[in-house]
């Protein structure tokens, strides 16, 4: 039983730089995931425009019938979003943990080019550990 279904990271221009699926039936191929990511980027921006007051920073939570989507946007415009089961708790803290891993293992990697797809082994390993820990914690509750 997966706590989260999938994780996406998109850069500030809306391009997908990381996509990981954790066992959903709706696993997407590369092209589709790219399209979905850029669509999300635009929706995020439009929702900011439609805000009835100032100070809106875009969609943080989208609740659908079969899943919830939690989104975290860093100050630089990089967006991290997870697709999870409806009603999953503590996704915001998980996203912040993933952000920390991103800064540690991706940005501090001297061979990583900004805005490019992430191909860092240490990031993958630590990410799996973080998600696994989250899953175990969830099952344990």
């Amino acid at each position: 039983m997966a706590a989260i279904y999938s994780l996406y990271i998109i850069n500030k221009s809306g391009g997908l730089i990381f996509y990981k699926d954790y066992g959903s039936a709706g696993r997407m191929d590369t092209n589709d995931s790219l399209r979905v990511a850029s669509l999300w980027h635009s929706m995020h921006a439009i929702s900011q425009q439609l805000s009835p007051t100032t100070g809106c920073s875009g969609i943080e939570l989208l609740e659908a019938d079969t899943f919830d989507l939690h989104c975290f946007q860093s100050l630089t415009g990089t967006k991290f979003f997870v697709v999870c089961e409806p009603g999953t708790q503590h996704m915001e803290s998980l996203l912040k943990v993933i952000y920390e891993l991103y800064t540690d293992y991706v940005l501090k990697n001297p061979f990583y080019e900004m805005e490019m797809p992430i191909r860092c082994e240490l990031f993958d390993i630590n990410l799996s550990q973080a998600v696994q820990k989250d899953r175990v914690a969830m099952l344990g509750r």
Binding site: S6, A25, W40, S57, G58, A64, F67, V83
Partner: protein, 290 residues
């Protein structure tokens, strides 16, 4: 319609300047994207003109629906992105939240979309003056909002006239009348509500509004689809529903402030309607304070 469930009023002394951060909006779209009904209460920021705003709103909803249908993790068979979905098909979203507002959405099988916006920040202010202001309106359609509070009241910034009636030591009744010309109301199929972000799940409320629409508007043999809705029964039932909802959802803050919202639409001059509402309000208050 306004739903203020779960909002909390801070017990700190009231701020003399109005913050009025309680925008609420309601959109209704038909299946072709035409905005049939748009109501707003104290919306502070208008970035686009009305037409563009409606188009943008509909575009956002359409794309989000197509996104959720594609991203559905429980369904392996999916069409391509951008293919228009029939109303029941595919996974659809029912709400999303940003840091400043929450949007609730409902789509009926005939393509009717109901969208409700809740605004996040409940600011409040004390009225600067009190007294009875005489108002007279000639037969334009208007909306009326009445706020009842015993310590604080919410003021809207939006073209308002105020009437204050002191009904006793426990509370001051503050009547705020918002007058605006109702926008072009064409046939409505989508209902959108914008409300407070801490509001719970509004799907039941949206479904109820839709049922009211079916009962009193669609089933009316004299109603031509595509024309403005002028059904008294519909208006009355909406009013009654809002009283019901608000009667249950009105909150009492720690310092005893109570908010009740009443919404109606009448072409009659305000004084007549006010008398009716005074009675209603006093009944509600008696019920609440008993």
């Amino acid at each position: 319609m306004q739903f203020f469930g779960g909002s909390e009023i801070s017990p700190s002394p009231p701020v003399p300047t109005a913050s009025g951060n309680n925008a609420h909006m309601m959109y209704v779209f038909n299946r072709n994207g035409v905005c049939l009904l748009y109501r707003e209460w104290n919306r502070l920021l208008h970035t686009l003109n009305a037409q563009q705003d409606h188009k943008l709103m509909f575009g956002l909803l359409f794309s989000l629906k197509s996104l959720t249908a594609k991203m559905d993790p429980t369904n392996a068979e999916k069409g391509n992105l951008g293919v228009p979905q029939l109303s029941g098909q595919g996974c659809s979203f029912h709400s999303f939240r940003t840091n400043t507002y929450k949007l609730s959405f409902m789509e009926s099988p005939s393509g009717i979309k109901v969208v409700q916006w809740n605004f996040l920040d409940l600011g409040h202010a004390l009225p600067s003056t009190s007294g009875i202001v005489d108002l007279a309106y000639g037969g334009i359609t208007y909306m009326e909002m009445i706020f009842v509070s015993n310590e604080q009241a919410v003021l809207t910034q939006h073209r308002k006239e105020c009437i204050f009636v002191d009904l006793g030591s426990d509370f001051i009744l503050q009547f705020i009348v918002v007058v605006w010309l109702v926008d072009l109301i064409e046939e409505f199929d989508h209902i959108i509500l914008v409300t407070h972000p801490r509001t719970g799940d509004l799907r039941e409320s949206l479904k109820y509004i839709y049922n009211l629409y079916v009962e009193y508007v669609v089933k009316n043999p004299l109603y031509a689809p595509g024309t403005p809705i002028r059904s008294e029964l519909f208006n009355t039932s909406l009013d009654q529903y809002s009283i019901l909802i608000l009667g249950h959802k009105s909150t009492i803050s720690s310092d005893g402030g109570l908010f009740i919202f009443l919404l109606s639409r009448h072409p009659a001059p305000i004084k007549n309607v006010l008398c009716r509402y005074v009675l209603l309000i006093s009944e509600l208050c008696a019920h609440y304070f008993s």
